[in-house]
Symmetry: C2
Subunit: 135 residues, 2 copies
DNA sequence: TGCAGATATATGATTGTGTCATATATGGGC
DNA sequence: GCCCATATATGACACAATCATATATCTGCA
């Protein structure tokens, strides 16, 4: 555990040593799954790897499967069991029209979040540029 | 409630009409408070307004006060009661050295989050640029 | 005097999501 | 027969945001 957290979770870039998952980035896994599935239909275990593209390395498998099932319940993705290949059966998901709409909504939300983050980071840099100049 | 949410919360930029608070941006209020307090010591009610700078308009007062008290418990800010002025007494907060360190850690984490958001948004745009060209 | 409204802080209850731990099953390699 | 990678699933927990509500002070005003 490092200074930035109350709980046992680490944050990306927090600079702590020791074991600890990446930042808890609420509301980011879901849109990432939708985007990855839109690029190419896949099963959960594969998505688990592909999430690393967005900084979500070592995501929690349980969480991924649960999110996928919930997205299916709500009609944003559909799945088919693939029993042909080697190993255990896979559940392959693909995005529905509704899921594509949902991804658009997420993209708007995340673009806004990016703006807010940029505002924060700029103000942050200004404060310390000023402080540096004061000495 | 709009399509993007399971719960009663709205997301920024989600495009829904009707009443609803801004996005639930976990782990953003705390660094914003630290930055605002570093720029200028203030009391909770004032911060409530200043948070709008970072897209956190109409933040929850209860949440702000609780966050400030927790930050104080953990030594990141200190407070003094200001009874001089008009109206009810105010609790003015300012950032400690530890709080400044914490802000640095947050800034690293948020910069990383910004990178991840950018990766997502770029891939998102690429997908739909491709789709648009296919027709 | 009374009382409405802005200012200011505080607390209880609930929820959603992520996280951690664990269970179960299939098939390949040795 | 046994281990390991693959693959999906479920239970328990924690955190931070949200929603609702309570309390107190002071000003303006009728």
């Amino acid at each position: 555990m490092c200074g930035i957290h109350r709980g046992p979770y680490h944050h990306e870039g927090c600079g702590c040593r020791g074991p600890g998952p990446a930042a808890r980035r609420e509301g980011f896994i879901q849109p990432c799954l939708l985007l990855l599935l839109l690029e190419k239909p896949a099963h959960g275990y594969e998505l688990l790897d592909r999430l690393a593209d967005f900084g979500l390395a070592e995501a929690d498998p349980g969480g991924i499967y649960r999110t996928l099932r919930r997205l299916e319940e709500e009609g944003y993705v559909v799945s088919t069991w693939e029993t042909g290949g080697p190993g255990p059966a896979r559940k392959e998901y693909r995005v529905t029209e509704e899921g594509e709409e949902l991804l658009h909504a997420w993209a708007r939300s995340l673009a806004q979040q990016k703006n807010n983050l940029e505002k924060f980071l700029q103000r942050y840099q200004e404060v310390f540029a000023r402080k540096g100049g004061e000495t």
